[in-house]
Amino acid sequence: MSPVPKYAPQGAGEQVLWSMLGGAEHLQDIAAYEQAGGYAQLRAAIAAEPAALIDAIKTGGIRGRGGAGFPAGLKLGFIPKDSPKPKYVVCNADESEPCTFKDREIIERLPHLLIEGCLIAARAIGANHAFIYIRGEYFEPFEILRAAAEQARAKGWLGTNVEGSGWDIELIVHRGAGAYICGEETALLSSLNGERGQPTVKPPFPAVSGLYEAPTLVNNVETLATLPRILDMGAERFAQIGIEKSSVGTRVFSLSGHITRPGNYELDLGTPLRSLVEDHGGGIPGGRALKAIIPGGSSMPILAAEQVDTGLDFDSMTKAGTMLGSGSVVVLDERVCMAQLALRVAEFYKHESCGKCTPCREGTRWVVDMLTRLVSGGGKPGDVDMIYNVNARVLGNCLCPLGDAMAMPLMSYIEQFRPDFDRYLEPGFTPPDDSPLAVITERAVQHLEIAKPGGVTWAGKLSRSELETPMANISGAPGAGSEGAGD
């Protein structure tokens, strides 16, 4: 049924995470995981001094794999050692950055590795409670993780007096309910605290005052899953993988879009983007040319085709004007219209804005409205500059990075692909009918009243008569909930 295997083949190079699999599809069963050396690092960690654990992770030099790239060892060190309050470990498994699916695969294939990583982190900071906050949409990964936690409990890795050490540890796998913003750490903690998942001001940082106003370590799935592997191979050896000091280790890159072999590829940091796309991903299907690459999730500034030799590491991406972000790489072929992409991306952030800060709440909405008018053929001179300027006014003016996450990529689309936007203002312009986003764009246009009547025609459009067949919402309110994308 599937045109390609569910999981991408393991590539060349030194693999830190996938090597644990030893060629197996997954290690969901605890016996298989222990057979592969699993939980040995937790055993060692329980016997070790917490300070030694933190030192080893600092020596390893791993930077956070969630998006911001903060050094994980440093973060561990920020947790106060003499807090009168309990301390908590929270694993951020709310993987919602568009086009990122690495954490899902880690959970599906190596759930115990993540649990072991969480427990090692808990031991290092002296916590007795750990949480894995997994996004609500990841229902099957949640089931896998919960089953793994039950196995770990049955084997004595969770519960009271683990390994006779006197250390008690509880792990709760907490399933969210659909909110991109909960991937932001303070919003995640609000959500886990039983409130609406809205961000809060930093400082105080979670390390000082997080869950229940107590010191809390928040780390991404990939970061925590890597901890047992660093301890296993030795921090010095781990530090030699990738690029010395600045971008140490491997990263799981989620490759999608117009690509022959999409999937997750674990590669050394610093691997050229071209190698990921061409050698691992098999290039663009249909012999089409590359137009652009989104390098780190939809929140990141875009790279043009000529930047394909940029290295997949923190510094190279910064030099190229973007960021490594969540490590998800989306390949766009020559047919993609950047104005249509901008609309689709802006709609996402409009939908996900939590509404707390005005620039984000209002800015995302106005950008969507202006882009919709532009691509529907009703744009006015100056609209493209206006779209750019509104984004520039959202950027840096909000409490959390969600507004920036729309502004940064959209400004880069306009900077790098201005003709894709300007051409909509030319009289008689018709969008190319092979644009992969044409159908989805037409849907967005249909829902906006200010769209110019009798505007451009679109490829793949459903006829009005096809859409206007009798229908009703079963709650009996005609038209209720007909907004489409869930506004």
Binding site: R175, Y180, R344, V439, R443
Partner: protein, 169 residues
């Protein structure tokens, strides 16, 4: 409080007992309530509030923040088509159009017979296997428009979309 509500309160209390602070269990509580009723009617918020020592209004305010909680009734089967970037680039628009034609309803609506609710969702994390469709929370990946009609036939023969207790929290 009805017997059904009382049973729900007890289930929520069991789950809440695992958390250091009971209020943290509000999302699991709402998941449990939604499984029980199929959506979140006023009785659901009463039960959640009773179990977690809060108010129905607060429970509703939390529920309304999250996309997966339904504040109006849904069909028996929930079909969610991802239309985010990777899926849209790989034909999600065509998949959605086919669902709309076959089900005779727009995204965001339910069919008149109460069997299906169709909606679009943002990135599901099925980008490497795009397009991805979630059917009663379970992913169907590499989904082609030609698979729409067989899926609807399959679901029509499935009596329950999402069984209570299946989504243990």
């Amino acid at each position: 409080m009805s017997e059904g509500q009382q049973a729900l309160v007890e289930r929520i209390e069991t789950v809440a007992g695992r958390y250091p602070h009971r209020k943290s269990a509000i999302i699991p509580a709402l998941h449990l309530a939604q499984e029980h009723y199929g959506w979140l009617p006023p009785e659901a918020f009463e039960a959640v509030a009773e179990a977690l020592d809060t108010t129905p209004a607060f429970a509703q305010s939390v529920a309304s923040f999250y996309d997966m909680f339904h504040l109006q009734p849904t069909g028996k089967h929930l079909i969610e088509v991802c239309t985010n970037v990777a899926c849209a680039l790989n034909g999600a628009g065509q998949v959605l159009a086919e669902f709309e034609q076959q089900l005779e309803c727009h995204a965001g609506q339910s069919t008149t017979d109460g069997q299906f609710t169709l909606r679009t969702v943002e990135c599901l994390g099925g980008c490497g296997t795009a397009p991805t469709v979630a059917v009663n929370n379970r992913f169907r990946e590499f989904f082609e428009p030609s698979q729409v009609r067989p899926l609807i036939t399959e679901l029509k023969a499935t009596p329950v979309g999402f069984a209570e207790g299946e989504g243990k929290v």
